[in-house]
């Protein structure tokens, strides 16, 4: 089997590769959003901890939610 | 209210009916919505009697579904605002049967009126006499299920921001079986087929909803009141 016939998918290339492409996007989005959410929480907590060390910056209160 | 359970239940039922009676506009609005939505369809699809009678079962049932959902807002909202609901939750009686009574009173002032109104709208959409009777029976069996399922959604969204739109997102997908069998029965009846199986299934759904949803609604109310 050549690469050409592999990618041609017996004439169904559009449907097969769109489906696999969409699936890839969904899977990657899942990983990215999960990692991003944890990092965002961590960043928020770090800023909160920093603000507590310097008491005058109590404005960090609005980060709580 | 130091009555026994039955006495308390009767009190709640009469009180809710009286409150609805004193605020007729609240009761009438979903009914007006039902009439207006159904009257819009001929303008959208054209006035041909064949087309209308073909679409009538689905249109009438979807409109009834939406009207029933719109009326859910007043099921618990006022009682939540004035603290009656907390009194109920704190009363010595179990909450589940009291909820059932409240939903029943609400159904009498919403679903039952849709049933009464339905022949008029069925006539407007050129539905045959036989199908009209089927429509009324399916609504009679189906709208209590809508109220019961809806009560869970109403309890969950109590005091939540954007509650109205959220409620529709929660309950409309749950309504699909009732729509399928309700509209299916009317379609079958319009083409002269037997509707016994549909009635049995809608009846089964009603029993299932009666047994299951009051517990879920009671749990949801306790969560919302926490």
């Amino acid at each position: 089997m050549t690469w050409h016939t592999f990618f041609a998918m017996g004439g169904y290339a559009d449907y097969v590769w769109s489906a696999y492409g969409f699936a890839t996007v969904v899977l990657l989005w899942n990983i990215a959003s999960a990692v991003h959410r944890r990092r965002a929480v961590m960043k928020m907590l770090r800023e909160l901890a920093l603000a507590e060390q310097t008491p005058k910056e109590s404005a960090a209160q609005h980060y709580v939610h | 209210m130091s009555h026994n359970l039955l006495g308390t239940a009767r009190c709640i039922f009469q009180r809710d009916l009286l409150l609805a009676w004193r605020k007729p506009a609240d009761v009438a609005t979903p009914l007006a919505f039902f009439v207006i939505v159904t009257s819009l369809f001929p303008l959208g699809v054209g006035p041909e009697p064949q087309v209308l009678s073909r679409l009538a079962p689905g249109v009438l049932w979807v409109a009834a579904l939406l009207a029933s959902m719109l009326s859910l807002g007043r099921l618990f909202a006022a009682d939540h605002a004035d603290g009656t609901l907390e009194q109920l939750a704190l009363s010595p009686h179990p909450l589940t049967p009291l909820i059932l009574v409240k939903v029943a009173a609400h159904w009498v002032t919403s679903g039952l009126l849709l049933v009464v109104l339905s022949p008029l709208l069925a006539m407007q959409l050129n539905l045959s006499g036989h199908a009209m009777v089927t429509l009324a029976i399916t609504l009679l069996l189906g709208t209590p299920v809508l109220s019961l399922l809806g009560s869970v959604g109403a309890a969950l969204t109590l005091g939540v921001r954007g509650g109205g739109v959220l409620l529709s997102l929660l309950v409309l997908p749950l309504y699909t079986p009732i729509l399928i069998f309700g509209a299916g029965a009317v379609t079958a009846s319009a083409s002269g087929l037997d509707t016994q199986a549909y009635f049995s299934l809608l009846g089964a759904f009603l029993l299932l909803a009666l047994g299951f949803t009051p517990w879920a609604t009671a749990a949801a109310l306790r969560i919302s009141l926490d």
Binding site: F22, N30, R37, R38, V41 | L169, L174, I180
Partner: protein, 252 residues
């Protein structure tokens, strides 16, 4: 086993599991795709278009499994007041919703060459669509309630009502479908069933396992985020935050 039921220990355990699970998932995906796209022969009826099955069917299976898991976790959280179960339910929802969407889109792309149109009110696709709506309702309800405890409990009640209703919806849709469906169009299931050979079954099973482990990898990462957010006032989280401040680009 009970040791890991505390958020602190679970956080550490999940952190150690994620790289392993992720690696195994990746290997399974590569192997499954190799078998499914390269080794398996074209179908005698559908040609190569049937290869969409290797992602569509696992996604559809997972979409249902995740909803049931969500309802089960919700029940455990509701009855025994276990925070980790609440977090599992909340973390599962977006993953389940996205897999449902994947099942819908890939089913539609498979439908075009099979039925000649992107959307047919086929029983499976219709059920999957309403499952997607149920996921959206769950996510919207939890997002609308700020108090984490109330949000978790309300979501649990909704998921439990949903999980009872799903089989009824599915049954109703099948009934409705057999009444209205023209005889020439078969459902995707009927097309798959008689033509499943080992060369096609093996990639399907491997891809399903890959999707299964993928879900657990992502849900663990999400739960770690949830744990940090909800336990932020505890000493151990503050300690982690402080040590993390020295290494900002820590692993997920």
């Amino acid at each position: 086993m009970y040791k890991y039921a505390s958020p602190k220990n679970f956080y550490a355990l999940a952190g150690r599991l994620v790289p392993w699970l992720g690696t195994i998932t990746l290997l399974l995906f590569v192997f499954g795709l190799y078998l499914g796209l390269y080794v398996a022969p074209p179908d005698y009826q559908q040609g190569d278009s049937y290869r969409i099955m290797f992602i569509h069917v696992p996604a559809a299976w997972m979409s249902m499994f995740v909803y049931v898991l969500m309802a089960g976790a919700g029940l455990v959280g509701l009855v025994w007041n276990i925070k980790l179960a609440d977090m599992l339910a909340t973390a599962s929802a977006p993953i389940g919703a996205s897999l449902t969407l994947m099942a819908l889109v890939t089913g539609s792309l498979w439908g075009k060459p099979t039925w000649g149109t992107y959307w047919v009110w086929d029983a499976r696709l219709t059920s999957e669509l309403f499952l997607f709506f149920l996921y959206l309702g769950f996510i919207a309800l939890q997002a609308a309630i700020d108090d984490p405890r109330r949000s978790a409990r309300a979501g649990a009640v909704l998921a439990l009502v949903g999980v009872v209703d799903i089989p009824i919806i599915h049954f109703s849709v099948i009934w409705w479908n057999t009444l209205h469906q023209p005889a020439s169009i078969g459902s995707l299931g009927k097309i798959i069933a008689p033509t499943i050979y080992p060369t096609m079954l093996h990639p399907l099973l491997i891809m399903s396992l890959a999707f299964f482990l993928f879900f657990f990898t992502v849900v663990l990462i999400r739960m770690r985020g949830e744990i940090l957010a909800r336990e932020r006032h505890t000493g151990w989280v503050m300690q982690i935050v402080r040590s993390d401040a020295n290494a900002p680009e820590a692993r997920p």
